[in-house]
């Protein structure tokens, strides 16, 4: 019976009303791989759409703030800090986002959303020269605050 299915198996935003406000931090990263031609164009700022990495950082920060609009069951949160780094790799770039909040629920989705949109922005600005780019390794590196305490990715397993 459909209504039964809906009542017992409906999507919902988990109730965090009674959780305490604690300092919460999450760090996520992801990678985009590209051809060496594309990489050189980015590094030499010769790209047709303009400077790639600064634009990606701005996009990542703005997207982090839009997380609860994009991910249906995410709570709206008032991020108190977003910080974004880009590292050059041999075959592309690694983008890292750290998000902070004093609030009732974790900010890992905000960090992961920033990473994803930052990498998509790099893709967009470079796609005219390389259609084979791949976005990968989007993962949570670290998370602290709240009842569950500190989480750190076990790098030996990755």
């Amino acid at each position: 019976m459909l209504t039964h299915i809906n009542k017992q198996n409906r999507p919902k935003m988990v109730d965090v009303t009674d959780k305490n406000d604690t300092n919460r931090v999450a760090i996520a990263s992801g990678v985009i791989t590209m051809s060496s031609e594309a990489l050189n164009i980015v590094l030499q700022n010769r790209n047709k759409k303009g400077p790639v990495l600064q634009t990606a950082i701005v996009a990542a920060i703005q997207a982090s703030k839009q997380t609860s609009t994009l991910i249906p069951m995410c709570h709206p949160l008032m991020l108190t800090s977003i910080n974004c780094d880009i590292d050059e790799l041999e075959c592309g770039f690694k983008l890292t986002v750290e998000a902070k909040l004093k609030g009732k629920t974790g900010v890992e989705m905000e960090a992961l959303t920033g990473v994803s949109v930052g990498l998509l922005t790099i893709y967009d600005m470079v796609k005219a020269v390389d259609k084979t780019m791949v976005i990968k390794d989007i993962k949570l590196l670290q998370k602290s605050g709240g009842k569950s305490g500190l989480y750190e990715l076990d790098m030996s397993k990755t």
Copy 2:
């Protein structure tokens, strides 16, 4: 004099700066009526655009979070819980949204906006088979928290 009109009769977002943060809950519901043919298509999940009720619940939750963007004088709020149910009626569906917040102002508009957009989503997905659907009975069922305390709709009057 126009400027007088504007000074004395301008829309404004009411000042809640000095209100206390309290636990606030609001429950609202609404109904969509449709033909039995349309109802059957929804219940049997044979709809051209896909499963109707799950999509409506996701839309309702996302819209609740957009309330202050849609309703001009609503305060931005950090909802801590949104829960949505759909009941099958003889002639359609009843959608109920419960919204919660620990904050300075009530969340009835968030519940009502979720209900409205959830019902519009059902309308959208079913309109190819029935253009005569009607959305109705959107109302506040219950509200608690804040200075005014508990409000419950007097069902005997409805």
Copy 3:
């Protein structure tokens, strides 16, 4: 099997790529009922949050433009006209929205979304004096353009 369910019964945005651009119009309306005390406050512009009806019209027009953001399976459309009227009733107000487009798909959801958010805006601005207001009779009055031609609500049946 879950993947089967998803493949065969997934929500989707219907493909309108090959449809012709035609002039499309949709008219929808809805009603909000309120106490006579609340009605008088609106009509005399004595409301705490400011003038109600002008604010509702602006909100309705802005919401019509947000339809594809709110209703998951709606296509993004470039509305070419939105017009909104409010009629005073004995027990409240009737809000009517006409939306137009030269494009590939109908604009009834845009009209209905404008109506819903306009009525919610009235509710929001008046709720301090009346919590028993009800939003109802949200329906499509007329629709033209596209393959299905003219649709008009049969008023004798309502």
Copy 4:
């Protein structure tokens, strides 16, 4: 080296996690100048797109709430009050927005964004009769709350 530039000179949202919540107020204003013909049309409510000033006030309030979406490094904030006035000048209008918050960072960008979008709305609604309008004098008049205390614009210098 580009990655060095990005690490050392990246845009970021400043970390306010450990700041105290205090009552914060900001007042900003700006001016739009127009021809006397345009001014008369606004004052007499004879404008083709409808009443100008009420629409501008609604737009200003809604834009204040969108500040962190528009200005990349702004923190999302839960404004507790927005109030907007329009004064008639000899050659146009002056729009003033006061924004309030109990929170961790100032609300001057929210007030300034409200002013800017309110003035743009006047421009939009009047541009059919005057393309030479100029928006100017957008500035912060006053700011209080937080560590830096009260700031008031020195009017003798302007």
Copy 5:
């Protein structure tokens, strides 16, 4: 009578359904003035929030695309080009935005909105060192396309 006022004097989005699609271009500019200390910090990229001008350009482009969300009576448009320049002045910066469209209505509001939000972004990133900045001279420089043909600001009058 209020309903009369609403029927005759309501805000509306002007009907452009029957206009032809033509190539449309608009160029707008605006200025932000700041102290020489602030100007030097921007020019030397020593700003606490990161590089100012690149961030402002990204914000200007993104805001141009949000014009119909921000300005209530603006039509949604599919901009085909946005280009943004920043010129260094003795006492600040001048930001210029060119917007293009093949469509039914002009894009001056898109150019003006981009200018305004770009300048607000500069303000935001520099406000920690200078609260007396002023945004001014936001105006339409040029507009072409559509029935009204070419408009160019008469610079001798400004």
Copy 6:
């Protein structure tokens, strides 16, 4: 010289005003890997936040429509079709999005953005049981329409 840098190396939205409207299609996919415990919870619909895959599909479709808001240099586009599939893998799920448009520029970013946000939604709904999930292999599979014609990923190289 900074202004030189900005003039010559500014981000911009590429001018597509004079391109022809052609039918354009893009297909992208991506993968999320998770523990077998997490996978079973998703497949048996025992997840705390509700049904995962249907919610992810709705989020993917809605995000595709928000691409030009998220990715700074993307053109606003009126997608005419979005279709989303999820395949069960041994260690997680593969999400595929097909986007279509009759327009002036390609829709690969729309497909890729849908994939990314759909996968993030799965992450969000499952993260309570598995924090080690990884999002990977986000790539363009196929693209057609426009001057560059058909592109298909060379699967032998991946």
